[in-house]
């Protein structure tokens, strides 16, 4: 690792670039730490590129734009401020600290200001010290050969019946995507044609085809391993939504020296017991709320608070990992298996170090990943993994609980990881059934046959997954319900994203609430 700090400077073409040019022309003493990337407008730099610099080991990042009112394009100042503020909040949760990222504005003639700022910021970063994150450069490991992937998943057993394609919600939107033909192409050894690459990236891994395959091929996991195959080949990433922000975030969380600060926001009414052998694992919802606050305005962090309130209701005080990382689900399913394994080892190590015996989580993805994928990849967690619903069902079943009326009519969006992968569509429904029965209506496709929320692992989001989401929201509206209840924070994010549509908004808009939110608002003692 280098001893000196590195500061990445995104330099807007207009004001700051002129000022910087003047400094260069004057052969001014610009600090050696500064590395420059010139951009057309500060507003061009999205949050993924801001965070990417930190993932690659930058100690500080500066976005230099034009003075408010002087942006050539008008919108650059606001866009930059928004992107910077969101990313700073996320850096704060990551434990890297807001102060490592700055947005500063300059006029073309303010080269003195620019130089003074660069010197001062460099001094501040030197004082903060080096980042605990350093770019992970994997040893050149050979991935599993394609033939081995095909053999392990027994894809040869495919009878070419086409049930997978006829059930695939993505194929049904009209996209030229077919699990069956992808399987044949791979068996034939084709991983290079654009159609095959597109298909590997597009699969939602929702598992509908797994349900239907008479030969018991788990196509979703097959696609996951094909993504890993491509990733090892250095041939992935272009299909990642939000410009790969979440993959970058999770890879950053896999840095061993990093000490995240995930629970600083915890409301004071919630009681926890750090000595408890039962851990509540929150998942990434708190990141999502900062990332999506301007456009989608989701509040998925409430799921975490409400889950803890429900546990408190039953006098359970779990421990929390203040430096909780990430289960690694999205990295695994978007092809970065190395980073997934790094995270998994760090997590298990953290469980062991704190004497954790049971992990309770409300996130279907975290649940399935801990329970199934860790052991499947040879990582024994050493803990009992419990979904919050299982725990609540047991407690409520002991009696003396009554639910108040919420005053809403509800329908339910299944999560693929809980309802199909873990095979527990009954868990949320059991809880829903304890609420007033007459207020609940199922959608046309539900339970194990439920349609996906439109995305998994931030991969393959496109015009067709949008069409699928619109179809799903129309189904939800058709039930006549006024509240769409969800059990996964990502279902909320993705469906809310689909509602952002200037042309069809009125036809697909619907209120959403997580099941924990419904429960916490209605639960009471008899």
């Amino acid at each position: 690792m280098k001893d000196t700090c590195t500061i990445l400077l995104y330099l807007c073409n207009w004001g700051p670039h002129s000022a910087f040019h003047t400094l260069q022309d004057q052969a001014a003493d610009i600090p050696d730490e500064i590395k420059v990337v010139r951009v057309p407008c500060a507003g061009r730099i999205n949050r993924a590129l801001l965070l990417k610099a930190f993932e690659l080991g930058a100690d500080g990042v500066v976005l230099a734009g034009c003075r408010p009112g002087a942006c050539r394009y008008g919108s650059g100042t606001e866009t930059s401020e928004r992107n910077i503020e969101d990313t700073r909040e996320i850096l704060s949760l990551l434990g890297l600290g807001r102060e490592r990222l700055r947005f500063e504005t300059f006029l073309p003639d303010e080269h003195d200001c620019l130089l003074a700022f660069l010197r001062q910021f460099t001094a501040e970063i030197r004082a903060l010290g080096k980042t605990p994150v350093s770019a992970y450069q994997p040893a050149a490991a050979a991935g599993e050969p394609l033939t081995e992937i095909v053999r392990r998943h027994d894809v040869f057993a495919c009878q070419d019946c086409g049930k997978c394609t006829s059930a695939c919600p993505l194929s049904l939107t009209g996209k030229s995507f077919s699990p069956r033909s992808l399987a044949s192409s791979i068996i034939a050894g084709d991983t290079d044609s654009p159609a095959v690459k597109d298909a590997i990236a597009s699969c939602l891994t929702c598992g509908m085809c797994d349900e239907r395959c008479p030969s018991a091929v788990r196509f979703s996991e097959f696609v996951r391993d094909l993504r890993t195959f491509l990733d090892y080949r250095g041939d992935s990433g272009s299909a990642q939504a939000h410009a790969g922000f979440f993959q970058t975030l999770q890879r950053t969380l896999a840095a061993p020296q990093l000490v995240p600060r995930r629970w600083d926001w915890l409301p004071p009414d919630i009681a926890v017991d750090q000595q408890s052998p039962t851990l509540y694992w929150g998942g990434c919802a708190s990141f999502f709320d900062f990332f999506f606050r301007h456009f989608l305005k989701v509040q998925t962090r409430d799921i975490l608070a409400d889950s803890l309130r429900l546990l408190n209701f039953f006098d359970m005080r779990p421990a929390l990992l203040s430096d909780e990382r990430c289960c690694g689900h999205d990295l695994l399913w978007s092809g970065d298996r190395d980073s997934f394994l790094r995270l998994a080892r760090l997590n298990v190590e953290a469980f062991r170090a704190r004497g954790i015996r049971q992990v309770v989580t409300s996130c279907p993805e975290c649940y399935w990943t801990f329970k199934h994928d860790y052991p499947a990849f040879g990582i024994e967690t050493g803990v009992q993994v419990t979904h919050l619903y299982e725990l609540l069902e047991g407690e409520i079943g002991k009696g003396k609980i009554a639910f108040k009326k919420l005053g809403r009519t509800m329908t339910f969006q299944d999560s693929c990881r809980l309802s199909r992968f873990a095979g527990r569509p009954d868990l949320p429904r059991g809880l829903m059934a304890r609420l007033q029965q007459d207020t609940f209506t199922e959608m046309q496709d539900h339970g194990r046959a439920s349609i996906c929320c439109g995305n998994s692992a931030w991969t393959g989001c496109d015009a067709y997954s949008k069409a699928l989401q619109v179809k799903r929201l129309e189904q939800a509206r058709k039930t006549g319900s006024d509240l769409l209840v969800t059990s996964c924070p990502k279902c909320q994010i993705h469906l809310k994203c689909a509602m952002e549509d200037p042309f069809r908004e009125d036809a697909i808009k619907m209120d959403m609430m997580d099941l924990t939110g419904v429960l916490v608002r209605t639960i009471g003692w008899e």
């Binding site: 407008c41 949050r47 919108s75 650059g76 770019a135 496109d462 952002e500 549509d501 042309f503």
Partner: protein
């Protein structure tokens, strides 16, 4: 300057003039405007000894240029010249006070000049398709030429750099590598062009002080930088798409004197990465599009009426929409009046507008290339950016310090290219001059050459776009419109004649459907890796 008083210097030989204090001297030095008036120090001749461009004893010469009209913009210049064809683009009373008003006065002067010259050159009429002659396409064959400008050795040069350039001839694909004393002078650019032609170079790396090859002059592009680009790309047959430029002067040469070792490291990295980027160059698209040469003038304010008259006298055709019945008409054979009509909106864009109106209860529209609207009419009618979505206000707000969200615009222009306001608010010149200025803007927007993509426009991937509409909300130039896709939804597309390449839409796009072909997301990620993962010792290199 302080002077020693006679009382104190009596009977001594002390110097009477005490000189400046250090503070005073510094203050005086700061007053220097660097106006370049020669003080005969002869330093320039020394600095430029290499090519000897400066002849100190050169006598003054008289140069004669012929012009039909003279516009005088500086009150102090040519006071005694007068005549019908001498236009003074200032008003002595308010001159120098308000930049925006001065600009409008300048536009109006241009309009008068065009009127005086009107009819002589044939103005384009009617409509046509403007297309780019097929540009020098990017050849599939890779023959890289590397040209390194020594910037006249003004910041120094290292012999090792010459060695590094010579060593490039062994690099795969490189057919030529040389250093040039100065690329921005005529001889330098001509030598580069000659070599490109003689050696059949299909990808060129130019390391000088200019940072990009695009037809895009940002506030960093000084005279030298744009002069070099003009010399290389104007009518030479060398396409912008085949040249990769990097700012050698700023990134390397500035380090030569103080940190020669780092300068050499940076030099090698910069040339190396530029060659790699040259191999990834892509052709710049050149679309054909409809073009209408008529201007629609909507409204009956003094300024609007005058703009119609001025355009007609310049030789352009005008459709005049007079929403107020009874207002005196404007008589000119080139002005076609639409009376008793109700204009409801404006759609389309520069060269291809549709003015929507109602006449006797029927909805109609007429095509125009540019549109001038009176302020009063602009308050009433909407710019319909997308038929299915609510119309947008037509406004001409000017940037001011501290107020965000307004793009840079000339007074009278709006965020829609080709749509002007005849009498913009807050401009302290007469209505007639404001109208003339609007006419000049409309006339100037008519194409003289083909409109083509300038390379940095955003492209939206139709298969990925989800039709969320964010890009359209954030685009300051209304460059984004929507059409139906095969999945039953809507997809955005960016018009490369309107997109100015700021990329704000890219940073709000949730699914990465929007990206700029020139320096796209993958490119920026790679640049980050180069900048952050390279061994210590590299300098501020890797400027993208």
């Amino acid at each position: 300057m302080a002077v020693l008083q006679p009382e104190a210097r009596r009977n001594t030989f002390l110097e009477a003039a005490r000189g400046l204090t250090a503070d005073q001297a510094a203050r005086e030095a700061e007053r220097c405007l660097q106006c370049g008036i020669c003080s005969q120090c002869l330093q320039c001749a020394g600095a430029c000894a290499q090519i000897g461009a400066i002849t100190h004893s050169e006598p003054s010469r008289e140069i004669m240029e012929n012009a039909g009209v003279v516009i005088i913009a500086d009150p102090a210049a040519a006071r005694r010249i007068a005549g019908e064809d001498v236009i003074r683009a200032y008003d002595t009373k308010s001159a120098g006070s308000d930049t925006l008003s001065l600009m409008v006065r300048g536009f109006a002067a241009a309009a008068r000049a065009m009127m005086i010259l009107g009819g002589k050159p044939q103005r384009p009429r009617g409509h046509s398709v403007s297309f780019s002659p097929p540009g020098p396409a990017l050849s599939p064959e890779i023959r890289v030429g590397v040209f390194v400008c020594r910037c006249n050795d003004s910041l120094g040069w290292l012999e090792e750099m010459t060695g590094a350039i010579n060593a490039l001839s062994t690099v795969d694909g490189v057919v030529h590598a040389e250093s040039i004393t100065a690329a921005c002078i005529d001889e330098g650019a001509a030598a580069i062009l000659r070599t490109i032609r003689e050696k059949g170079i299909t990808r060129a790396v130019l390391a000088s002080c200019a940072c990009c090859s695009l037809n895009f002059v940002c506030s960093s592009c000084t005279d030298q930088r744009s002069r070099l680009k003009n010399a290389l790309f104007s009518g030479t047959g060398v396409s912008r798409s085949m040249v990769e430029m990097c700012n050698l002067r700023g990134e390397v040469l500035r380090l030569v004197r103080m940190h020669p070792e780092r300068a050499l490291d940076c030099f090698k990295e910069l040339i190396d990465s530029s060659i790699k980027r040259a191999l990834m160059l892509k052709p710049l698209p050149a679309p054909a599009r409809n073009y209408n040469f008529t201007t629609a003038v909507i409204g009956s304010s003094e300024a609007a009426v005058h703009s119609a008259q001025v355009l007609a006298q310049m030789g352009y055709e005008v459709f005049w929409f007079n929403p107020e019945a009874g207002r005196e008409g404007v008589e000119h054979p080139s002005i076609h009046c639409f009376r008793d009509v109700q204009v409801t909106g404006v759609r389309g864009m520069l060269g291809d507008f549709q003015v929507l109106f109602q006449q006797a209860g029927t909805d109609q529209f007429i095509q125009a290339g540019a549109v001038i609207v009176s302020r009063k009419a602009a308050e009433r009618i909407k710019y319909i950016h997308q038929k299915e979505l609510p119309g947008r206000d037509i406004s001409s707000a000017m940037q001011q310090a501290g107020r965000v969200g307004i793009p840079f615009m000339y007074p009278g222009t709006t965020s829609v290219a080709g749509l002007y306001i005849a009498d913009p608010d807050g401009i302290k010149v007469s209505d007639r001059e404001r109208g003339a200025a609007a006419a000049a803007l409309a006339a100037a927007s008519m194409p003289r050459g083909p409109r083509s993509s300038r390379g940095f426009s955003v492209v939206v991937d139709e298969g990925i776009c989800r039709g969320c509409g964010r890009c359209s909300t954030y685009c300051p130039y209304q460059a984004i419109s929507f059409k139906r896709n095969s999945a039953g939804g809507w997809v955005a597309s960016a018009d490369d004649a309107l997109c100015k390449g700021c990329g704000n839409c890219i940073s709000v796009c949730p699914s990465n459907a929007a990206d700029s072909p020139f320096r796209n997301h993958a490119f920026l990620e790679r640049v980050l890796e180069e900048a952050l993962l390279q061994p210590a010792g590299s300098g501020t290199g890797m400027t993208a």
